[in-house]
């Protein structure tokens, strides 16, 4: 689905790896390892200084940027909602291509388990967990094939985090999504991931199946990381 060939950018050094269709990849590793930078490269919020990225076998530059960004949806770490109502936010992506269908909010809010009547609320009046759900629904409104998630639950309390995790799991299964998620919570990685990419100082130090690689770390860096 997505392939990196010898990609270097900022903190990232010479990365080569593949994310296959329907993978649920977990990117994890110490702070500053370059995880967010990697998600930015997937969504083309940045272009690599060196190397090549392929999307479905095609060089990423050959896909029109805005199309790519809609297909490879990115959920940023903080909700970053636009001022206005919940509905305004949900409509944003599809409206860019005039493909918003009135009533679509019903399905979207159901996905993220929010009540329908929240649609006319001002986003400033929502709780952190609600905002993050709206943000997720906003990304889903574009009907992405790949979902990139940057620490989607790190700013939330445990209960809300679990709810969102649950929502994600159902969504990904129901829609056959390919997922790349950054998380610091290893229990979350076990629950959601099928494949792990352990990043350390800009390199992919170790990859493997989840949860297997967490139970049997090969490198000393991963062992140390897991002990913390």
């Amino acid at each position: 689905m997505i392939e990196f060939k010898n990609v270097s950018h900022g903190p990232l050094e010479n990365l080569s790896f593949k994310i296959e269709q329907n993978d649920r990849a977990i990117l994890f590793g110490p702070s500053g390892a370059g995880k967010s930078t990697m998600l930015f490269l997937f969504n083309r919020l940045k272009d690599p200084e060196q190397g090549e990225i392929f999307y479905k076998g095609k060089p990423i530059e050959e896909v029109p940027i805005t199309t790519l960004r809609q297909k490879v949806g990115l959920l940023l770490q903080s909700p970053n909602l636009f001022p206005g109502t919940v509905l305004d936010n949900l409509k944003y992506g599809p409206s860019l291509t005039n493909s918003w269908e009135p009533g679509a909010e019903e399905k979207l809010l159901e996905y993220v388990q929010l009540p329908l009547d929240i649609k006319d609320r001002d986003v400033d009046h929502l709780s952190g967990g609600q905002q993050q759900r709206v943000s997720l629904a906003r990304t889903l409104a574009n009907e992405p094939e790949v979902l990139l998630l940057d620490e989607p639950t790190s700013a939330l309390d445990n209960k809300t985090a679990e709810d969102i995790e649950h929502v994600l799991k159902e969504l990904i299964e129901a829609h056959n999504l390919t997922m790349v998620m950054v998380t610091h919570q290893m229990d979350q990685a076990r629950r959601l991931g099928t494949k792990g990419l352990f990043m350390h100082e800009g390199r992919i130090q170790e990859t493997g199946e989840l949860p297997g690689m967490l139970d049997d770390p090969k490198t000393k860096e991963l062992k140390e990381y897991l002990q913390e």
Binding site: S36, F40, N142
Partner: protein, 264 residues
């Protein structure tokens, strides 16, 4: 009141300088030198401008007016540029923006016979238009920069959803223009209530009938209002593009990323 102030009377202006000077002296504010130098400098500048204006007013309008307007626009451009030095193409943007504003306003004045094409009318009125536009452009630039930094998360969100830079920065453009226009709306609203506008005061002191002075003031106030709006709009709409790369990426996304990750 006599429209002429004699040179002797002018000498007594020194008293007005002596007040802050003695304040500075007795309270040891250490500003004495600064006060003297500034007052002298201001006086010399004004007299110099007076002589230059006298000279220009005597020139043929078709030489004096374009010359002086060009000088004003060049100086104003360099001044306003300071607010956005790190941005590409600021100087030419401001320069052409000011030309655009001045030419439009001047054309309207002349077309509707509000102002006569003589240096003594066009130059001071243009000076006010250019000066205010310069300030408006500087403010718009500053505001735009801070809006871009503050909203980098939202901009990234919009871009990541597939927005064109133009669509993504819609909110920022809106806020910048809003901020640029509100003080002007307020100024027009309270005009004449708190303080008589400088030009009107000048005309009345110079012996012009109040109603006549008001007409001039209206022309200049509304001209300034519209040129300030036009200036802010022009720089904002031209400059926002330079915050993005040709691949529709936020130019400062290194900074934005840092900002964004430090928040989480």
């Amino acid at each position: 009141m006599s429209p002429e102030i004699s040179n002797q009377s002018l000498l007594f202006l020194i008293i007005f300088v002596v007040v802050p000077l003695s304040l500075s002296y007795f309270y040891q504010l250490g500003m004495s030198k600064n006060i003297i130098v500034s007052s002298l400098r201001g006086t010399i500048q004004l007299f110099a401008i007076g002589y230059i204006l006298t000279f220009l007013f005597d020139l043929n309008a078709f030489i004096g007016i374009p010359f002086m307007i060009t000088v004003m626009i060049v100086i104003a451009s360099f001044h306003a540029r300071k607010k956005g030095k790190e941005l590409p193409y600021v100087l030419p943007t401001i320069f052409f923006g000011l030309i655009l504003v001045e030419v439009s306003v001047l054309s309207l004045w002349l077309l509707f016979d509000m102002v006569e094409f003589t240096p003594s009318e066009v130059i001071p009125m243009s000076g006010m238009v250019i000066g205010n536009s310069m300030v408006a452009m500087g403010l718009a630039l500053e505001r735009m920069k801070s809006e871009f930094t503050e909203n980098s998360g939202r901009l990234l969100a919009a871009l990541s959803l597939g927005a064109e830079p133009k669509q993504a920065s819609h909110l920022i453009v809106q806020r910048t223009l809003n901020a640029a226009l509100i003080p002007n709306v307020d100024r027009i609203k309270t005009i004449g209530l708190v303080q008589l506008p400088g030009m009107m005061t000048g005309l009345i002191l110079g012996g012009v009938e109040p109603i006549m002075a008001i007409k001039y003031q209206l022309v200049i106030s509304l001209s300034i209002f519209s040129s300030v709006s036009l200036s802010a709009m022009f720089v904002t709409l031209v400059m926002y593009k330079h915050f993005f790369t040709k691949n529709k990426q936020l130019l400062d996304s290194e900074e934005a990323l840092k900002e964004y990750s430090s928040r989480g």
